[in-house]
Chain length 109, copies 2
DNA sequence: GACATGTGCAACAAAAGAGTTGCAGATCAT
DNA sequence: ATGATCTGCAACTCTTTTGTTGCACATGTC
Protein backbone atom coordinates (compact mmCIF):
# COMPACT_ATOMS: atom_id res chain seq x y z
CA UNK A 1 0.00 0.00 0.00
CA UNK A 2 1.39 3.34 -1.03
CA UNK A 3 2.14 5.78 1.69
CA UNK A 4 -0.22 8.34 0.23
CA UNK A 5 -3.13 5.95 0.11
CA UNK A 6 -2.34 4.84 3.63
CA UNK A 7 -2.36 8.41 4.81
CA UNK A 8 -5.67 9.04 3.11
CA UNK A 9 -7.19 5.92 4.60
CA UNK A 10 -6.01 6.91 8.04
CA UNK A 11 -7.69 10.25 7.47
CA UNK A 12 -10.99 8.55 6.72
CA UNK A 13 -10.79 6.44 9.86
CA UNK A 14 -9.74 9.42 11.93
CA UNK A 15 -12.70 11.39 10.64
CA UNK A 16 -15.01 8.60 11.76
CA UNK A 17 -13.16 8.24 15.03
CA UNK A 18 -15.27 10.68 16.98
CA UNK A 19 -18.70 10.05 18.45
CA UNK A 20 -20.01 13.46 17.42
CA UNK A 21 -18.94 12.99 13.82
CA UNK A 22 -20.26 9.45 13.77
CA UNK A 23 -23.61 10.83 14.86
CA UNK A 24 -23.45 13.47 12.14
CA UNK A 25 -22.81 10.80 9.57
CA UNK A 26 -25.77 8.74 10.67
CA UNK A 27 -28.01 11.80 10.71
CA UNK A 28 -26.90 12.80 7.23
CA UNK A 29 -27.44 9.25 6.09
CA UNK A 30 -30.99 9.33 7.42
CA UNK A 31 -31.91 12.85 6.35
CA UNK A 32 -30.03 13.15 3.08
CA UNK A 33 -28.85 16.74 3.22
CA UNK A 34 -28.85 19.21 6.10
CA UNK A 35 -27.34 22.57 6.92
CA UNK A 36 -24.95 23.09 9.78
CA UNK A 37 -27.56 25.14 11.54
CA UNK A 38 -30.14 22.40 11.21
CA UNK A 39 -27.61 19.85 12.45
CA UNK A 40 -26.75 22.02 15.43
CA UNK A 41 -30.37 22.56 16.43
CA UNK A 42 -31.14 20.97 19.76
CA UNK A 43 -27.57 19.74 20.15
CA UNK A 44 -25.44 20.37 23.16
CA UNK A 45 -22.62 21.89 21.16
CA UNK A 46 -22.48 25.05 19.10
CA UNK A 47 -23.02 25.45 15.38
CA UNK A 48 -19.38 26.38 14.92
CA UNK A 49 -18.28 23.14 16.51
CA UNK A 50 -20.57 21.26 14.14
CA UNK A 51 -19.11 23.19 11.21
CA UNK A 52 -15.60 22.18 12.24
CA UNK A 53 -16.64 18.56 12.42
CA UNK A 54 -18.23 18.80 8.99
CA UNK A 55 -15.02 20.26 7.66
CA UNK A 56 -13.09 17.32 9.05
CA UNK A 57 -15.51 14.95 7.37
CA UNK A 58 -15.21 16.90 4.16
CA UNK A 59 -11.42 16.90 4.27
CA UNK A 60 -11.64 13.11 4.47
CA UNK A 61 -14.04 13.27 1.52
CA UNK A 62 -16.81 11.59 3.46
CA UNK A 63 -19.05 14.59 3.01
CA UNK A 64 -19.70 17.19 0.34
CA UNK A 65 -21.41 20.55 0.58
CA UNK A 66 -23.56 22.49 -1.81
CA UNK A 67 -24.74 26.06 -1.57
CA UNK A 68 -28.47 26.57 -1.82
CA UNK A 69 -29.47 30.15 -1.45
CA UNK A 70 -28.23 31.33 1.87
CA UNK A 71 -27.91 27.82 3.19
CA UNK A 72 -25.10 25.34 2.80
CA UNK A 73 -26.30 21.77 2.65
CA UNK A 74 -24.06 18.90 3.64
CA UNK A 75 -24.56 15.34 2.50
CA UNK A 76 -22.67 12.07 2.54
CA UNK A 77 -20.22 10.93 -0.08
CA UNK A 78 -19.81 7.17 0.06
CA UNK A 79 -16.80 7.09 -2.24
CA UNK A 80 -14.11 6.99 0.45
CA UNK A 81 -16.17 4.64 2.52
CA UNK A 82 -15.46 1.86 0.10
CA UNK A 83 -11.72 2.20 0.53
CA UNK A 84 -12.14 1.89 4.26
CA UNK A 85 -14.42 -1.08 3.80
CA UNK A 86 -11.86 -2.77 1.60
CA UNK A 87 -9.26 -2.39 4.30
CA UNK A 88 -11.49 -3.88 6.99
CA UNK A 89 -12.42 -6.67 4.63
CA UNK A 90 -8.75 -7.39 4.20
CA UNK A 91 -8.33 -7.72 7.93
CA UNK A 92 -11.35 -9.93 8.30
CA UNK A 93 -10.66 -12.19 5.37
CA UNK A 94 -6.99 -12.33 6.15
CA UNK A 95 -7.87 -13.31 9.65
CA UNK A 96 -8.33 -16.99 8.95
CA UNK A 97 -5.00 -17.14 7.23
CA UNK A 98 -3.43 -15.30 10.13
CA UNK A 99 -4.90 -17.81 12.54
CA UNK A 100 -3.63 -20.66 10.44
CA UNK A 101 -0.18 -19.15 10.50
CA UNK A 102 -0.35 -18.83 14.26
CA UNK A 103 -1.41 -22.43 14.57
CA UNK A 104 1.53 -23.64 12.57
CA UNK A 105 3.78 -21.65 14.84
CA UNK A 106 2.20 -22.94 18.03
CA UNK A 107 1.66 -26.49 16.88
CA UNK A 108 4.50 -27.30 14.51
CA UNK A 109 4.09 -30.54 12.66
CA UNK B 1 -27.72 2.68 18.05
CA UNK B 2 -26.98 2.90 21.75
CA UNK B 3 -24.67 5.59 22.89
CA UNK B 4 -22.28 3.08 24.38
CA UNK B 5 -21.99 1.11 21.17
CA UNK B 6 -21.50 4.35 19.27
CA UNK B 7 -18.73 5.37 21.61
CA UNK B 8 -17.04 2.03 21.23
CA UNK B 9 -17.32 2.17 17.47
CA UNK B 10 -15.83 5.64 17.42
CA UNK B 11 -12.98 4.24 19.51
CA UNK B 12 -12.31 1.57 16.92
CA UNK B 13 -12.25 4.10 14.10
CA UNK B 14 -10.11 6.47 16.10
CA UNK B 15 -7.63 3.69 16.77
CA UNK B 16 -7.39 3.04 13.04
CA UNK B 17 -7.22 6.75 12.31
CA UNK B 18 -3.47 7.04 12.46
CA UNK B 19 -1.01 6.05 9.77
CA UNK B 20 1.43 4.56 12.27
CA UNK B 21 -1.22 2.37 13.84
CA UNK B 22 -2.60 1.40 10.45
CA UNK B 23 0.88 0.23 9.52
CA UNK B 24 1.13 -1.71 12.77
CA UNK B 25 -2.16 -3.43 12.01
CA UNK B 26 -1.02 -4.47 8.56
CA UNK B 27 2.28 -5.73 9.91
CA UNK B 28 0.56 -7.72 12.62
CA UNK B 29 -1.83 -9.09 10.05
CA UNK B 30 1.07 -10.24 7.91
CA UNK B 31 3.33 -11.50 10.66
CA UNK B 32 0.80 -12.89 13.10
CA UNK B 33 2.37 -11.92 16.40
CA UNK B 34 5.24 -9.60 17.18
CA UNK B 35 6.77 -7.90 20.20
CA UNK B 36 6.91 -4.16 20.57
CA UNK B 37 10.67 -4.32 20.25
CA UNK B 38 10.39 -6.25 17.00
CA UNK B 39 7.83 -3.80 15.70
CA UNK B 40 10.01 -0.85 16.61
CA UNK B 41 13.10 -2.28 14.93
CA UNK B 42 14.14 -0.15 11.99
CA UNK B 43 11.32 2.29 12.55
CA UNK B 44 11.77 6.02 12.88
CA UNK B 45 9.99 6.23 16.21
CA UNK B 46 10.93 4.75 19.56
CA UNK B 47 9.77 1.51 21.09
CA UNK B 48 7.84 3.39 23.74
CA UNK B 49 5.87 5.23 21.09
CA UNK B 50 5.06 1.90 19.46
CA UNK B 51 3.96 0.53 22.82
CA UNK B 52 1.61 3.46 23.28
CA UNK B 53 0.12 2.88 19.86
CA UNK B 54 -0.35 -0.79 20.68
CA UNK B 55 -2.10 0.20 23.88
CA UNK B 56 -4.47 2.41 21.92
CA UNK B 57 -5.21 -0.49 19.59
CA UNK B 58 -5.70 -2.78 22.55
CA UNK B 59 -8.04 -0.33 24.27
CA UNK B 60 -10.15 -0.44 21.12
CA UNK B 61 -9.91 -4.23 21.31
CA UNK B 62 -8.29 -4.48 17.92
CA UNK B 63 -5.23 -6.11 19.41
CA UNK B 64 -4.47 -8.51 22.23
CA UNK B 65 -1.20 -9.26 23.96
CA UNK B 66 0.24 -12.39 25.45
CA UNK B 67 3.34 -12.82 27.56
CA UNK B 68 5.85 -15.33 26.29
CA UNK B 69 8.90 -15.57 28.47
CA UNK B 70 10.42 -12.13 28.65
CA UNK B 71 8.65 -11.02 25.51
CA UNK B 72 5.15 -9.67 25.08
CA UNK B 73 3.61 -10.63 21.78
CA UNK B 74 0.88 -8.55 20.18
CA UNK B 75 -1.57 -9.87 17.65
CA UNK B 76 -4.78 -8.80 15.97
CA UNK B 77 -8.26 -9.39 17.28
CA UNK B 78 -10.80 -9.15 14.47
CA UNK B 79 -13.85 -9.01 16.71
CA UNK B 80 -14.28 -5.26 16.69
CA UNK B 81 -13.42 -5.06 13.03
CA UNK B 82 -16.75 -6.62 12.15
CA UNK B 83 -18.69 -3.94 13.99
CA UNK B 84 -16.81 -1.29 12.06
CA UNK B 85 -17.45 -3.15 8.82
CA UNK B 86 -21.15 -3.32 9.57
CA UNK B 87 -21.23 0.43 10.02
CA UNK B 88 -19.44 1.12 6.76
CA UNK B 89 -21.74 -1.32 5.02
CA UNK B 90 -24.60 0.70 6.41
CA UNK B 91 -23.32 3.82 4.75
CA UNK B 92 -22.59 2.15 1.46
CA UNK B 93 -25.71 0.12 1.05
CA UNK B 94 -28.10 2.67 2.48
CA UNK B 95 -29.88 3.15 5.69
CA UNK B 96 -32.87 0.82 5.30
CA UNK B 97 -30.90 -2.27 4.46
CA UNK B 98 -28.35 -1.24 7.05
CA UNK B 99 -30.94 -1.21 9.76
CA UNK B 100 -32.15 -4.64 8.76
CA UNK B 101 -28.63 -5.96 8.81
CA UNK B 102 -27.92 -4.50 12.20
CA UNK B 103 -31.11 -6.03 13.51
CA UNK B 104 -30.06 -9.47 12.40
CA UNK B 105 -26.79 -8.98 14.20
CA UNK B 106 -28.41 -7.85 17.42
CA UNK B 107 -31.34 -10.25 17.36
CA UNK B 108 -30.01 -13.38 15.71
CA UNK B 109 -33.02 -15.34 14.50
C1' DG C 1 26.62 -14.49 39.53
C1' DA C 2 27.24 -11.41 35.54
C1' DC C 3 25.46 -9.78 31.35
C1' DA C 4 22.46 -8.92 27.55
C1' DT C 5 17.89 -8.17 26.17
C1' DG C 6 13.07 -7.01 26.69
C1' DT C 7 9.57 -4.74 29.27
C1' DG C 8 7.27 -1.13 32.46
C1' DC C 9 6.79 3.29 34.60
C1' DA C 10 6.96 8.22 34.93
C1' DA C 11 7.95 12.97 33.84
C1' DC C 12 8.24 16.06 30.38
C1' DA C 13 7.54 18.94 25.91
C1' DA C 14 5.39 19.84 21.64
C1' DA C 15 1.50 19.54 18.70
C1' DA C 16 -3.14 18.64 17.43
C1' DG C 17 -8.20 18.51 18.58
C1' DA C 18 -12.55 20.18 20.35
C1' DG C 19 -15.26 23.77 21.68
C1' DT C 20 -16.41 28.63 22.79
C1' DT C 21 -17.36 33.46 21.89
C1' DG C 22 -17.70 37.64 19.25
C1' DC C 23 -18.51 39.87 15.17
C1' DA C 24 -18.87 40.74 10.19
C1' DG C 25 -20.94 39.59 5.77
C1' DA C 26 -24.51 37.43 2.73
C1' DT C 27 -29.28 36.37 1.59
C1' DC C 28 -34.25 36.36 1.71
C1' DA C 29 -38.95 38.17 2.99
C1' DT C 30 -41.87 42.08 3.99
C1' DA D 1 -34.62 49.61 3.44
C1' DT D 2 -35.18 46.82 7.72
C1' DG D 3 -35.02 42.84 10.06
C1' DA D 4 -34.36 37.98 10.53
C1' DT D 5 -31.46 34.11 9.41
C1' DC D 6 -27.65 31.69 8.01
C1' DT D 7 -22.80 31.49 7.05
C1' DG D 8 -17.66 32.67 7.59
C1' DC D 9 -13.56 34.20 9.97
C1' DA D 10 -10.57 34.73 13.91
C1' DA D 11 -8.85 34.58 18.56
C1' DC D 12 -8.78 32.24 22.56
C1' DT D 13 -8.92 28.30 26.06
C1' DC D 14 -8.62 23.55 27.66
C1' DT D 15 -7.68 18.88 26.96
C1' DT D 16 -5.84 15.00 24.59
C1' DT D 17 -2.43 12.87 21.74
C1' DT D 18 2.07 11.87 20.27
C1' DG D 19 6.64 11.26 21.11
C1' DT D 20 10.93 11.55 23.91
C1' DT D 21 14.17 10.38 27.55
C1' DG D 22 15.86 8.18 31.70
C1' DC D 23 15.77 4.60 34.75
C1' DA D 24 14.17 0.41 37.18
C1' DC D 25 12.66 -4.36 36.94
C1' DA D 26 12.25 -8.99 34.85
C1' DT D 27 13.95 -12.87 32.21
C1' DG D 28 16.91 -15.79 29.73
C1' DT D 29 22.02 -17.06 28.64
C1' DC D 30 26.79 -17.95 29.67
Amino acid sequence: MSNKAEQELAGVFAALGDATRLALVTRLLAAGALSATALAEGQAISRQAIVKHLQVLEAARLVVHERQGREVLYSLDAQQVDAARAFLDAISTGWDRALARLRTLVEPD
